[in-house]
Amino acid sequence: MAEFKPNIVAIVCNWCTYIAADTAGTARIKYTPYVKIVRVMCSGRVDPQMVLWAFRNGADGVLICGCHPGDCHYKEGNYKAYRRYMLLKRLVKQLGIEEERLRLEWIAASEAPRVKEVFDEFVEQIKKLGPLKLREEVIENP
Amino acid sequence: MSDKVIVVDPITRLEGHGKITIFLDEAGNVKRAYFQIPELRGFEIFCRGRIAEDMPIITPRICGVCPTAHHTASTKTLDDLYKVKPTPTAEKLRRLMYNLFMFEDHVLHIYVLAGPDFIVGPKAPKAERNIFGIIKKVGKEVGLKVIGARKKAREFMTIIGGKTIHPVFGLPGGVSKQLSEETRKQLLEWADEAIEFAKFTHDLFKKLFLEEYKDLVFSDAYMHKTYYMGLVDEHNKVDFYDGKIRIVNPKGNEYAKFDVHQYLDYLGEHVEPWTFVRMTFLKKVGWKGFVDGEDSGILCVAPLARLNAADGMKTPIAQEAYEEFFEAFGGRPVHYTLAMHWARIVETIQAAERIKELASDPDITSPDIRNIPTEKPSVGMAVVEAPRGTLIHHYETDENGIIQKVNLIVATQNNAARICLSIDKAARSLIKNGQVDEGLLNMVEMAFRAYDPCHACATHSLPGSIPLVIEIRNSKGKVIKELRNT
């Protein structure tokens, strides 16, 4: 059976993680190819709908990355993101998706090495969990 | 192996809301008639994990025709679950809501669904046998009275309960909304009309039952000697909202009188592979199959059962009607299924009278409408009399009030077995040597309709209104004859 290549999207803040990822690139830090970045201006823009939409569209895992507490370019956007994430995690779990498939991380613009750290680590975790199969893929209807 | 199968299917097989299949033997006599309810949604399961206070919101969706019954049963179950009593005002408001509901629901059934059989006549063409037919027969103002009465009652229900279809006002320890003095006054005015209307209805049908349709009502085809179950107050009077569950045997003697918390000791449910509905029976008597009599656990609920199970009505005018009723049938208990219609009218009177009583009480507008629970929830049970019979809700929760288990005994489950009896009996008494009597359809339909089987609760037909089709098929399943009630 073919090796499982996780399909992961990271929705990241423009001011921290996106820059960190740029810097990681400039520094030629090599990391997993399975995490793909979608940019928003602030993690506060992350709407739980985006996460559910990602799962619906084949994501095996979803990362949300923002600025460290206190560092938000817009003061408190990352706090909003965190509160939504906490409640969303509860919903997602109740719907039978392992909590570990959804993760929120703070990565500052200067923390290029952490991009590798977090992405690689997350991919390993998702590999352990295996592919995410949606309800209709698991139980046939009828 | 039979060479004929008759399928009586409301409208079409694929319509799928209650169907009858009759097997004949070689001689063309009925071997067995099956009544199937092909509908299930699984409320008992999917209520699990919900928060307790969601139950009065979720369970009414079991039935859009009698949502108030489920809402009320559910709300009372929450009282029991959180060990909290509603304030006196709150209980009055719930009772007011409930009697309004009983009134409008009975009126709907009497005139729009069952009434046409008697007023317009069972032999009248289908097109005539509806509310419009009635208007033609008894005059426009009566018809408008009917529509008006129901409409008005439902308007009041919206004001009190938030919504009519799927009310929302019930909370553990009370209700969410205070009644305004203005509404109370309007109610009081209207209550007299309601009582007058109920009395008018009583006189109208009494005549029909005792004269035009005596034979029909007293016909053996609709007679089963079963147990009867209903809710009674401390004086053994009919109470829709609360009380003890009383069961009388086919002789009319008290078989049991118990608190809802003992329901598991008395009631069991039987499962058949050919229908989705569970059939309630008396545990201690036991399931003896589809037979009546004192040795069979099959029981009957709804208006007739309630009157049989009680020693009288709560209110004066209804009490007179109660006495007239049993006089007419020669005492308690009454086994004639079609007497159900009369009993329903007696109840309608009580509902109307209760509305007036409650609306007359100035305390009903007090702002003291809720006691806040302080106890940890665990188990709750409650019972009400739905228009179509005894309704029991039973929840178990964790200490945070998250539902762990739900058991629901819905009115029609209680009657399900007896309905099967009626269908089977009607079929046997009417189909002889392969000769299918033209009247069969209507007879069966009327037997069926008498129960006002709210299959919205188990299936989805609007009460009683079940146009029937009979297909007579040979063993190959080919239709060799078709009968329709139009």
Binding site: K36, V40, C42, M50, G58 | -
Partner: protein
């Protein structure tokens, strides 16, 4: 979304071999061609080149393109380049989307196959997204033509003067009582050995007297609000207990102080000399005004004192009731020049600082050499002797895995300068212990050669420890430097009278607060992060905030002044234009959908959302919206949409990026 059929042009850049060396660009182009809506897909060696841009412009005209995607580097580098190109071809610049397949793909992915697959998805996402793009216009916002400079060292001073000379009002905020910073401690500067004071003091005085410069010393920035072009800054000025306008710096109060002898730690000289509670920071301080230190002043501390200073001042300049004041200014641009400090070398016991009195750190020696210093420029040990032998130790904490990994850059030349000055004034034997001599700079190597030829000894090796444990008679009473001479390949013990440590530099105290307050990112060592190490070494990711001097990383004076004047240039360019164009990524509320539930209002820290009672809907105050989109995410009815990040755009991008192997 617009009715017209979308016609997308996709351009995959090779970036020489940066992308094409890893990602199979042909394969990506072939894959992208199949996506509905894509009319042309090409790959080209350098899309950012003029030829590359012309390619786009031609296609827009020939193929009637109405959407453009360029897959190349980070939008932080070339988004504007390509938007401009698109605009020049007559298309709205926001019908463009950039796919980052260099920084986020080719540069970070080992396996070319995987890189190619990832690139496909990244480009696909951009293509799906751009379909939903809408024409937008940049918003013009008026810019305040005043400039704030934070930090009054040579960096801040230079930047402030350039701005002021350009005719702009400058607020120069300095934490300590006088400007001048580190440079004010120096006697001579390398490599020219010209007198620091002689070149610094004129600039300091110019600042003090410049009509366009509002000098605010002994003050700190408390809060910053607003955004590029329109910053609102609150400055807290601590009480000096001396009315600056009245004080002429005559020092009568100092003489009159009840403390006859100075006995308190003197910040300027790193404690080499002492001061009184009332003092003037240093002889050529600017402003040259007395100041009273509430920690040591008896009256201010205990409320009991004869207040001889008050009597002594014939201008009644002393005011014990002075309160701290808040000064609010509005500026269009900000220059951060918060400088550096030296690491605490007492944390490195092997060097014996604090343990052995004759171990000094460089700044102490700089002050000692300073004519206005405690010793009037003489090198005198704490025991009063003149050293006959001196060891100067480089890279104390720098280029050190356990401390600062970076090179502090100016120490080598400073050490060589000190060697020269010490030898000049003491004729002592001077040893330099170095790892490498870094003399990259105009005239630096020459200076190094010169000092070496003067007989200063250079020993290559990292010093293991400084000890006073003598093994031989001649080591008695001396400090012994244990070092491996990596050139001679022998362990050596060198006895000296004085040791001078060249400590590593680190950002000034409080840099974390400053970075949060100004919204400027920092590196892992807390140096402020420039927007780009090469192409934007002065700007930060916070628009309108620029960097000058060592707060961005260790620099010597020439580089500091260069960057400072560069920062001034950037700031001037910004404020002189009179307006700025904001990214149009602000939110809008559809009044047809908004029910005025007001969930959004609490989301906005900038007060950009206001509920309109009459209309019963919430409205956006565009000038205040910073475009974070937090309210859009919260809006329960989907009435709020953020330009450039509308729901449908983001969903399309997510779906696109996940459509692995997708049709």
């Amino acid at each position: 979304m617009s009715r017209e059929e979308v016609r997308i042009g996709v351009y995959v850049c090779h970036c020489g071999t940066n992308i094409a060396g890893v990602v199979n660009v042909e394969e990506v182009v072939e894959y992208i061609k199949k996506i509905p809506g894509v009319v042309v897909a090409r790959h080209y060696v350098y899309m950012c080149s003029e030829a590359g841009q012309n390619l786009i412009k031609q296609d827009i005209k020939e193929h009637k393109l109405n959407r453009v995607v360029v897959a190349s580097c980070s939008p932080n580098l070339h988004e504007n380049t390509f938007r401009r190109a698109v605009a020049e071809a007559g298309l709205n610049p926001y019908y463009f989307q950039m796919a980052n397949i260099r920084e986020h793909c080719s540069w970070v992915t080992e396996d070319p196959k995987e890189a190619t697959e990832k690139a496909k998805m990244i480009v696909r996402a951009a293509v799906e997204r751009v379909k939903y793009h809408e024409p937008l216009e940049k918003k013009k916002v008026e810019v305040k033509d005043k400039i704030l400079v934070v930090g009054g060292g040579i960096a801040g001073i230079s930047a402030a003067l350039v701005c002021a000379n350009a005719g702009k009002t400058v607020y120069l905020v300095e934490k300590s009582p006088s400007i001048g910073g580190m440079m004010s401690r120096l006697d001579k500067t390398f490599p020219t050995l010209d007198c620091a004071a002689c070149i610094l003091t004129p600039k300091m005085n110019e600042v003090a007297s410049h009509p366009n410069i509002k000098l605010i010393t002994y003050a700190e920035v408390e809060s910053v609000e607003g955004f590029v072009g329109n910053f609102k800054v609150r400055i807290r000025k601590k009480p000096r207990y001396v009315i600056e306008d009245l004080c002429v710096g005559c020092e009568k109060c100092v003489e009159a102080c009840v403390f006859k002898e100075p006995k308190f730690y003197d910040e300027w000289s790193f404690g080499l000399k002492k001061r009184k509670p009332v003092y003037i920071p240093f002889p050529y301080a600017v402003p040259r005004k007395a100041i009273i230190d509430p920690e040591s002043c008896l009256y201010l501390k205990y409320g009991r004192c004869k207040q001889t200073c008050v009597e002594a001042c014939d201008r009644n300049a002393i005011d014990f009731n002075q309160k701290e004041e808040i000064i609010e200014v509005e500026v269009g641009a900000i220059i951060l020049a918060t400088g550096y400090k030296f690491i605490d070398v007492s944390k490195l016991p092997q060097y014996g600082y604090g343990k052995y009195p004759n171990v000094y750190i460089a700044p102490e020696v700089e002050v000692m050499l300073n004519a206005s210093g405690p010793t009037r420029g003489e090198i005198i040990l704490r025991d009063g002797r003149k050293p006959k032998s001196v060891a100067i130790i480089h890279c104390v904490g720098s280029r050190d895995e356990n401390n600062k990994k970076y090179c502090s850059r100016l120490c080598c030349m400073a050490a060589i300068k000190l060697a020269h000055l010490i030898k000049e004034r003491t004729e002592a034997e001077v040893y330099n212990f170095y790892i490498d001599i870094r003399a990259a700079g105009k005239g630096y190597e020459e200076f190094y050669k010169r000092v070496a030829s003067e007989g200063v000894r250079f020993i290559r090796g990292k010093v293991a420890e400084i000890t006073d444990v003598a093994l031989t008679p001649e080591e008695e009473g001396k400090l012994i430097v244990r070092v491996e001479d990596t050139l001679a390949g022998v362990i050596r013990r060198i006895p000296v009278d004085m040791v001078v440590l060249m400590p590593a530099l680190e950002p000034a105290t409080g840099v974390e607060e400053v970075s949060k307050m100004f919204g400027v990112s920092v590196t892992e060592d807390f140096w402020f992060l420039e927007r780009h190490p090469k192409l934007a070494p002065i700007a930060t990711f916070a628009d309108g905030i620029f960097l000058a001097g060592c707060c961005q990383g260790p620099k010597d004076i020439p580089d500091t002044v260069m960057q400072a004047e560069g920062a001034a240039g950037d700031a001037l360019a910004l404020v002189s234009r009179g307006y700025i164009e904001l990214e149009p990524n602000i939110v809008s509320i559809d009044p047809e959908k908004c029910s005025g539930c007001r969930v959004c209002v609490g989301m906005c820290p900038f007060g950009a959302l206001k509920y309109n009672e009459e209309k019963g809907v919430t409205e956006v105050i565009e000038a205040l919206c910073k475009g974070c989109g937090t309210c859009a995410a919260a809006c329960p009815s989907g009435a709020i949409q953020q330009n450039l990040f509308k729901d449908k755009q983001v969903y399309a991008e997510i779906a696109g990026i996940l459509a692995v192997g997708g049709e």
